[in-house]
Amino acid sequence: MEEEIQRSSLGEAERTMTICNACRYCEGLCATFQAMTLRRAFAETDLDYLANLCHNCTACYHGCQYAPPHYFDLNVPRTLASLRIDTYQRYAWPGFMARLFERNGLVVSIAIAVSLALIIVLLFAYQDPAVLFSQHTGPGAFYAVIAHYVMISVAGATFGFSVLAVVISCLRFWNSTKPGSKSKLSIGAWARALRNTATLKYLGGELGEGCSTEDERWSNRRRYFHQFTMWGFILCFASTCVATIYHYGFDIAAPYSLFSLPVLLGSVGGVGLLVGPAGQLWLKTRSDPRPANVSQYGMDYAFLASLFLISLTGMLLLALRETAAMGILLAIHLGFVLAFFVTLPYSKFVHAVYRFAALLRFGAEMRR
């Protein structure tokens, strides 16, 4: 049954790309169509690649002469989005975890509930309530509530596994895109891929005037909100890395002062992760459902909401870290963070990795 669904999603993608390649009116719109025109026929791996190159901007749907109610019934964004979810499953490592992409909104929600409950229950079971609900300041204040070795071993294990799983999945995807492509991975290819990622070029259309979201009008709103989210995430991640260096390299323990590098990076990133996901959620509620793969909305909403809540609890923790509320806020914040990293390889997060791999392949193929 599962296999049948996958095959039909691939079959529809092949039908769609065959018709698109005979038309090519959209080739000025984005990378997906430009990569398409390099091919005469579409093998499974070509379609996997094209599906992940698609940024789901939906401009091609609104501009499609064959979109429903036309007899050919082409819906490129929805078809590729549906295949994209298939690829997340097919390339997932270890394979049996792929099922977590089904009802992914539920999976992520349960993960959040369980990790919040777990941390709070363990805290109440093992930590003295007097310590939990009292004020702590100065270096090592957080570790008075949750011991440093506990934090590090749980984070290290979950994050380590997640990174491993994402890297293996991505390599499997990357290797599968090789056969259909006569490209060489040059410095130029990396530069093009990094530029296209950093600017989210293909959420802005070829001319940078935006993509369709609510209807056939072009707008850069989605691109800008996505920029907030992406850079917010990168800055928060950088903050964590810097803090790790502070801790192990210079033996300076958190919490850090308001104007320290980790707090500055984390605060700016945190604002990004409030504004970006909130804006993206808002746009999603207003977006045209016709070109959307509505069945994946659960995954999208869960991912955006958990980024927003991680940031919100993190900002609250920063604001109230010198009060007695710190202990419980730390627990809640870490609960959201833990759930995020546990589900990382089986959540919407993977779109970033596959998309970059596809853009890198595209950068190598196009040589311009």
Binding site: T18, C23, E27, G28, L29, R40, A59, Y71, F72
Partner: protein, 463 residues
């Protein structure tokens, strides 16, 4: 409910109609657009277009170098073999010089010509995203400036008396209605989707035609005006017809139903006989004659036959190739006489003069001693598996149209003077294109005469 009256009424919803509506509105008139199709399928054949041809005295937008008025005129003269109205054609060419700016200011975007576009990057500007994206921009702009657009509204007739056009009868979602207007722009396309009319011109053969574009171009208003003594140009049997895959749906398959295999094949009719030189010239220069060629064959069907040597040399059809291990099997698959096909193939194979095969040039692989010859790219049909693609005539648009003057005003006969009926687009393209076709000119006619018609209709209405 559509308002009962307006200044300028525009009939149709394609490029010409929207340019007329925008121009009339910008000239200060109240404008109503009546589009027969619903919103999703709006825009007539414009939905299937992707570029327009524009003269330019230097690089402009995506167009390189120079494409002078004279060169454009010579190109037009060549394809129409003189069946064109020179003053109107030159007016169109001169006006084409500023239409890219005009469209760009109204939200239309252009892209450089990329792949597979018949080498038109100097002469033709391509719409970013194609014709439907162009239409989206035109509708958004029109609605922003106050043009009122009504979908699912078919105009069935125009009432014209001594004082000119008075009102239009409309069959719309609210039922039957009449709308009074001070001027009307007819931009409702050709009549190719009207089977009865096509049969009047072509006989029963028309049953086997496939219409590449919108099913809404039924020529209702064209005929209505002809019955009210409007003067026409062109011949009802003249149309833009290409050979397309016979398995395409009856309407609206657009560009993707085309076949690119003819130069690599031999083409036989249902009696398994060849009927034209498949290698006469490069395909982009020949595809537009093959519609008529197939239309002249019995049953209006033909089959392009190729073998395994060339199957990967052209863009495949979107429909599967019909394949067989022998010519006899292939004949049975496509239902043509076995012996006749075998004889046609072997006499073709025997007539080949071997040369150096090169699809990039008019090479010297040709036949000798058979009629019709294959002048270039002739290779034996000898390597199984063998493949066939069925072909039928695909009609893009008809050329019979309304005669107009240089203000896009429709000419009436019998000494009638009607000042407030204008026409733009395919419905009057025959003034410029009496025969043949020059890629992108249809859209140029639409923008240029749409603007002229809209401006003059507004002037007439606001007098």
């Amino acid at each position: 409910m559509i308002p009962a009256s307006t200044d300028v009424l525009v009939i149709g919803g394609g490029n010409a109609a929207m340019c007329a509506a925008i121009a009339a509105r910008e000239a200060g008139a109240d404008v109503i657009v009546l589009e027969h199709a619903g919103k999703a399928m709006r825009g007539g054949n414009t939905r299937h277009t992707r570029n327009l041809r524009a003269m330019h005295d230097g690089p402009v937008h995506t167009l390189a170098e120079v494409y002078s008025e004279e060169e454009y005129w010579q190109d037009l003269l060549k394809v129409t073999e003189g069946q064109t109205n020179e003053p109107l054609a030159r007016l169109m060419i001169r006006e084409s010089a500023n239409l890219l700016d005009w469209l760009h200011e109204r939200g239309v975007r252009f892209q450089p010509a990329l792949s597979g576009t018949l080498n038109l990057e100097r002469t033709n500007a391509f719409f970013l995203g194609g014709g439907k994206t162009l239409l989206n921009a035109q509708y958004l702009h029109a609605e922003r400036i106050g043009v009122k657009v009504f979908y699912d509204s078919e105009v069935t007739g125009l009432a014209i008396d001594e004082s000119g056009f008075r009102e239009a009868a409309v069959n719309c979602t609210g039922g039957l209605q009449t709308i009074r207007a001070k001027a009307v722009v007819v931009a409702s396309g050709g009549f190719q989707a009207n089977e009865e009319w096509m049969k009047e011109a072509w006989g029963e053969a028309a049953n086997n035609f496939i219409i590449r574009g919108t099913p809404f171009n039924r020529g209702t208003i064209l005929r209505n005006l002809m019955e009210q003594s409007a003067v026409t140009v062109g011949d009802p049997t003249q149309c833009h017809a290409v050979a397309i895959d016979a398995r395409a749906p009856k309407y609206d398959a657009g560009i993707v139903s085309r076949l690119d295999c003819v130069c690599f094949s031999i083409v036989v009719n249902r009696d398994a006989q060849r009927f034209y030189d498949e290698g006469e010239d490069f395909w982009p220069k020949r595809y537009a004659i093959w519609g008529r060629l197939v239309a002249q064959q019995p049953g209006q069907i033909a089959y392009a036959i190729i073998d395994a040597k060339v199957v990967d040399k052209f863009m495949p059809s979107i429909f599967p190739k019909i394949s067989a291990e022998s010519i006899a099997d292939l004949a049975r698959e496509i239902n043509v006489p076995e012996e006749a096909l075998a004889a046609t193939v072997s006499s073709f194979n025997d007539a080949i003069v071997s040369g150096h095969y090169d699809t990039e040039i008019l090479d010297d692989c040709r036949t000798e001693g058979i009629g019709p010859p294959k002048s270039h790219w002739a290779l034996g049909i000898d390597t199984p598996p063998f493949y066939a693609y069925p072909m039928r005539p695909g009609i893009t648009f008809t050329y019979l149209g309304l005669e107009v003057d240089d203000e896009a005003r429709v000419t009436f006969g019998n000494g009638r003077l009607v000042r407030n009926v204008f026409a733009a687009g395919e419905v009057m393209a025959g003034n410029i294109l009496g025969k043949g076709y020059c890629a992108g000119t249809g859209m140029t006619i639409g923008v240029v005469f749409g603007r002229i018609a809209g401006e003059n209709a507004a002037r007439e209405a606001l007098q």
